[in-house]
C-alpha cells in the first residue's frame, strides 16, 4: 500500500514538473502530457459523444485548449482533472450540435422512484462476461451505456470506468459531491437493470444466453 501511495505521489510531482516546463514553453514536456492522457481523453469523449469522429476532434481540441490556457491552470487540482473538465465540455458541445433538441446538460437529474427501485432481481451467471464473445460483449456494453441520459453516463464513465475519485469527478464536472453520488447510484442501478437480460442465470431446463 505504501508503495502504491508513494508511486502515486511521484506521478503527481512528475506531472507538475511537466506542467511547469510546458508553461515555460517546453513543447516536448507538453507532448509527454498528451501521450500520458490522450487514450483517456479519447475514451471519455467517445463515451459522451457516442461518435468516433467527434471523439477524435475532442482529443485535438481539448489538448489545444489546455495548451493555450495553461497559464490559467491554478495547480490546486491535478492537471488530469483540469484536462478532463475541458474534454467533457468539448464533448458536450459536440453532442449538443448533433442533437436537434439541444438540451444536453449535466444538470439534468431526472429523479424518479423507479430509477432506484429494482424491477427485476435475478442472480447472474458466474463470470457473466464470459457468456459472450469479446465483440458481442462490447456491443452489449456499448448499447446499454448509451441508453443512459448523458448526465448519468458521464458520471459513471469518470468515476467507474476512468477511476476518478468522487471529489475529482465533482470537480471535473462542476457538480456538488451529493449530485455526483446521486447520479452515480442511478447510473449503476440502471445499468445493472439493463444488463440483467443478458447476464442472468439461465432457468433450469433451458440453454440460456449463448
Amino acid at each position: 500500500m505504501a508503495v502504491i501511495q508513494s508511486k502515486a505521489k511521484d506521478e503527481v510531482s512528475d506531472e507538475l514538473a511537466l506542467v511547469h516546463a510546458a508553461k515555460a514553453g517546453d513543447i516536448a514536456a507538453f507532448e509527454q502530457l498528451v501521450k500520458r492522457y490522450d487514450r483517456n481523453v479519447f475514451r471519455i469523449a467517445q463515451h459522451i459523444t457516442q461518435n468516433r469522429e467527434d471523439a477524435e476532434d475532442v482529443v485535438q481540441d481539448a489538448f489545444l485548449k489546455a495548451y493555450e490556457n495553461l497559464e490559467q491552470f491554478q495547480e490546486n487540482s491535478k492537471f488530469y482533472t483540469w484536462l478532463v473538465r475541458i474534454a467533457v465540455n468539448e464533448s458536450l458541445m459536440k453532442l449538443r450540435k448533433r442533437r436537434t433538441d439541444k438540451t444536453v446538460s449535466l444538470d439534468q437529474d431526472i429523479e424518479t422512484e423507479e430509477d432506484t427501485m429494482p424491477r427485476e432481481v435475478a442472480d447472474w451467471s458466474p463470470n457473466p462476461e464470459q457468456l459472450y464473445k469479446q465483440g458481442e460483449l462490447k456491443e452489449i456494453l456499448t448499447k446499454t451505456i448509451n441508453g443512459l441520459p448523458a448526465s448519468f453516463r458521464t458520471v459513471f464513465v469518470l468515476r467507474d470506468v476512468e477511476g476518478l475519485s468522487t471529489e475529482e469527478t465533482a470537480e471535473a464536472l462542476g457538480l456538488s459531491i451529493p449530485a455526483v453520488k446521486s447520479r452515480l447510484l442511478r447510473a449503476r442501478l440502471q445499468l445493472r437493470e439493463r444488463l440483467n437480460k443478458y447476464f442472468k442465470m439461465p432457468k433450469k431446463g433451458t440453454d440460456g444466453a449463448q
Binding site: G25, I27, F30, E31, V34, K35, D38, R39, F42, R43, Q46, H47, A55, E56, V59, Q60, F63, L64, Y67, E68, T116, M117, P118, V121, A122, D123, W124, P128, E129, L137, K138, L141, T142, I145, F156, D160, V161, G163, T166, K181, L184, L185, R188, L189, L191, R192, L195, N196, F199
Partner: protein, 83 residues
C-alpha cells in the same frame, strides 16, 4: 433497515466510504435480505465488467496521427503568440 434505505447507501457501501456502524447495519441487512444481496452483487459486477471492458481503445495509428496534429498546432500557436 428497509430495502429502500439500503439502496440509498449502496454507492457509499460499494465505494467503501462509510463509517463502521453504517457498514455493520448494511451488512446485517444483507444477511437476511436476498433481494438486496443480489442487487448489491450484480451492481458490483456491473462496475467490474465496465471497468475491465477495454471499450473505445485508441488504435496506435490514429493515436500517432492525433499526437502529431496536436503538437503541430501547439507549435504554430507558439509562433503566432510569442511570449
Amino acid at each position: 433497515m428497509t430495502c429502500k434505505e439500503f439502496l440509498k447507501e449502496l454507492t457509499d457501501y460499494l465505494d467503501d466510504s462509510m463509517d463502521e456502524s453504517t457498514r455493520a447495519e448494511l451488512e446485517d441487512h444483507l444477511q437476511w435480505c436476498h433481494n438486496c444481496f443480489v442487487v448489491c452483487d450484480t451492481t458490483k459486477k456491473t462496475i467490474e465488467i465496465y471497468r475491465g471492458s477495454e471499450m473505445y481503445q485508441l488504435p496506435d495509428d490514429l493515436r500517432t496521427r492525433l499526437e502529431t496534429a496536436i503538437i503541430t498546432k501547439c507549435k504554430s500557436k507558439k509562433k503566432t503568440n510569442p511570449s
